[in-house]
């Protein structure tokens, strides 16, 4: 029977699987970028030339941000599993996740000058970062309410 504990366990498994998957993808970046560079040669950005180095740097930077996001997401889920939901530590995790999403937008924004698609990905990452930030603000309010509830006898 499906329940919230299994749902939480699935989330933890997915986060850890994605963490490993990104490491594997990062190892394949040179091959993938080289293939992309020789396959899509038409100019679709402001700058010309090979995108091998810009895209490689962009993907590695984004991978680091992504891994850090997943690391803190995993910690958040472990806390939730331990029934510690509205605690200041989780707010700090959400704040970090939000900042890493916003940071991930920067390399894609720069890559957008070579390929316009980079701007779209940067916008998506920034949008996601802002959403997480709003969730963090809600959590902060919830922490105060939880504390008040805990100390109401």
């Amino acid at each position: 029977m499906w329940n919230k504990d299994r749902s939480l366990a699935l989330s933890i498994i997915l986060v850890r699987a994605l963490f490993v998957f990104i490491i594997i993808l990062a190892l394949c970046v040179p091959v993938m970028v080289h293939w992309y560079d020789i396959t899509y040669t038409e100019r679709v950005g402001l700058l010309e030339g090979s995108v091998f180095w810009p895209l490689s740097v962009c993907l590695y930077a984004a991978a680091v941000c992504g891994e850090l996001c997943l690391w803190y997401l995993g910690k958040l889920l472990v806390n939730i599993k331990a029934d510690q939901v509205f605690i200041p530590e989780n707010c700090a995790h959400l704040r970090r996740i939000s900042w890493f999403c916003l940071l991930a937008a920067v390399p894609f924004f720069v890559f957008g000058f070579w390929r316009y698609l980079g701007f779209v990905v940067a916008l998506a990452a920034a949008f996601f970062g802002i959403i997480i930030r709003v969730v963090k603000n809600c959590f902060e309010k919830a922490v105060v309410l939880q504390e008040e509830n805990d100390f109401t006898i």
Partner: protein, 70 residues
């Protein structure tokens, strides 16, 4: 803190232990400790009612308002 909880004073007057009081008003000893040490943020009317009943006193005997000095 401007509201002072004088629970320990009343408990001493009535010669009742923390464990017994917690049992009689149906709260955990940990919560009673929070109340006694003044860490509580609020007190429910139901808890106050039980405390007054068990300790045979008025709410004013348990809670006291003290003006903060500058």
């Amino acid at each position: 803190m401007r509201i002072i909880v004088n629970l320990d004073v009343m408990m001493a007057k009535r010669k009742i232990s923390s464990g017994e009081l917690a049992k009689r008003i149906d709260i955990t000893p940990a919560n009673l400790s929070i109340l006694k040490t003044g860490k509580a943020k609020a007190i429910r009317f139901s808890t106050l009612e039980k405390l007054c009943e068990v300790l045979d006193c008025q709410p004013g005997d348990i809670l006291e308002f003290r003006k903060e000095e500058d």
